[in-house]
């Protein structure tokens, strides 16, 4: 009786593919970023500006600069990511594609993860890739360049994931930028502390494996929780 009521037709109907939806959303978002070159370049230019201004403002003294380099590079990278977060869902919200994304048969968290991955590929990844160039300007010792890139790769992915929750919560507000920073910065501090700390240890030639492991753990945790939380926040923001 119950089986009849549920309807055999519905039970056998196949659903659109999860992976197909993920890949299509990731591809679409990356393509969009590359079509809007200025948005792609903004965080990078901001990153480069902060880092180049510091040696000018302070003394061009290589021991002083190399001392502050890990922290400075990390703060600049963090602010660049923060700056780019507001646009993560805002455009989609305005043109209605966010609404359609949440109406897709695929779980919203998977599609939100695709958007976050696209954000990281176009923000965090390029930041990590150009960081050695700017590190040279701050006379960071050559042997710690690899560690700097590695921590930025791991850390910026965590920043994108965690930041997506804040961006999702503030997407419905007209001026959400300041609120977004206030919401997200406390969650960013552990990433900053461990990221900059790891680079500092690498400069001193100390063991960094446990620190890297902790950064990996933070990434794993946010990978698990952030897409789900951001999807829930998006539903909240749009429900009204």
């Amino acid at each position: 009786m119950t089986a009849e009521r549920a309807g055999p037709r519905r039970a056998v109907e196949p659903l659109p593919g999860l992976w197909q939806g993920f890949a299509a959303t990731l591809g679409r978002d990356c393509r969009l970023r590359f079509r809007r070159r200025s948005e792609l370049a903004n965080p990078l230019i901001f990153f480069a500006l902060i880092v180049t201004l510091f040696p000018l403002g302070l003394a061009p003294d290589s021991t002083l600069l190399s001392g502050i380099a890990p922290g400075l590079l990390w703060v600049a990278a963090l602010l660049s990511v923060l700056l780019s977060l507001d646009g993560l869902f805002r455009d989609d919200f305005d043109d209605g594609t966010l609404e359609q994304l949440l109406l897709a048969p695929q779980p919203a968290s998977v599609l939100v993860l695709a958007k976050i991955v696209a954000h990281w590929l176009t923000t965090g990844l390029p930041l990590a890739l150009i960081s050695p160039l700017l590190a040279v300007m701050l006379s960071l010792p050559g042997h710690s360049m690899g560690v700097l890139m590695l921590t930025l790769l791991l850390g910026s992915a965590t920043l994108s994931l965690v930041g997506a929750i804040g961006a999702a919560l503030t997407v419905g507000l007209r001026r959400g930028g300041v609120l977004l920073s206030l919401l997200i910065l406390p969650l960013y501090t552990p990433v900053l502390i461990f990221g900059a700390g790891t680079v500092r240890l690498a400069v001193d030639g100390a063991v960094i494996a446990p620190w890297l492991a902790l950064m990996g753990a933070m990434l794993a945790l946010s990978l698990l929780a952030a897409p789900w939380a951001a999807a829930a926040a998006l539903k909240l923001s749009l429900d009204g």
């Binding site: 549920a6 309807g7 897709a104 429900d239």
Partner: protein, 222 residues
């Protein structure tokens, strides 16, 4: 029945937009929702499409509560709202290709998806504009890109909020014909419109009306 609505009510700003609404959307029915501005037409459609959880009453899809069969419902429901859901920086083809990837079940690969999108764009009169960025198209053409999703033909239930906006007269007629054909083929359509819904719909035998009187009353005419 496809969608069964029982005792549906929604309160906004201490005002009941509608309450105790009992309504069934069956295969082959085209429901036109009429009512003055602010009477709750869009809110009703947002509830029906599963976007709003702030309501009283129950919605069932094929006899099962909507919240328990979300994926199956979303796979067979198409919603087009006020905002077209089209990315302006992408071309018409790229926009449609995303929708096709999100909703198609066939594993035909990128090639088959593109072919389906080309056909759908041709059906809405955008042949030759496939590779044009949407921002370079006119408002009516942008709207047609969104409406091309209807031509992809995956969903059985269409929920359309003001689909005739910015569409020219021929386009309106074509859209009406599509909606009627969809219902005759066993699908269902729920549509709101300020227009007196063109010329073709009123004569159709699949048409049903749901009227908001603007004072919290809803009248279902079968």
């Amino acid at each position: 029945m496809q969608l069964d609505i029982q005792k549906l009510g929604c309160e906004r700003d201490e005002r009941w937009l509608f309450s105790d609404l009992d309504w069934q959307i069956n295969p082959g029915e085209l429901w036109r929702i009429e009512g003055p501005n602010g009477s709750g037409k869009t809110t009703l459609l947002r509830i029906l499409s599963g976007q709003m959880a702030d309501y009283t009453g129950t919605l069932s899809w094929h006899g099962e509560k909507l919240s328990r069969c979300r994926e199956a419902f979303m796979a067979s429901m198409l919603y087009i709202g006020h905002r077209p859901g089209v990315k302006k920086a992408l071309t018409a083809l790229e926009n449609l290709d995303w929708y096709q990837a999100m909703s198609t079940v066939e594993e035909g690969g990128a090639r088959a998806r593109r072919d389906a999108c080309f056909q759908a764009l041709e059906a809405v009169g955008l042949a030759g504009f496939e590779e044009t960025p949407v921002e370079a198209l006119s408002a009516g053409q942008q709207r047609r890109v969104a409406l091309a999703r209807l031509a992809l033909g995956h969903q059985r239930l269409w929920i359309l909020d003001e689909p005739f906006t910015a569409i020219d007269r021929d386009g309106v007629r074509q859209l009406e014909r599509w909606m009627m054909a969809h219902c005759e083929a066993g699908g269902s359509v729920v549509v709101t419109s300020h227009h007196d819904s063109g010329e073709l719909l009123p004569a159709s035998r699949v048409l049903r009306n749901l009227r908001f009187d603007g004072q919290g009353g809803v009248h279902v005419d079968c």
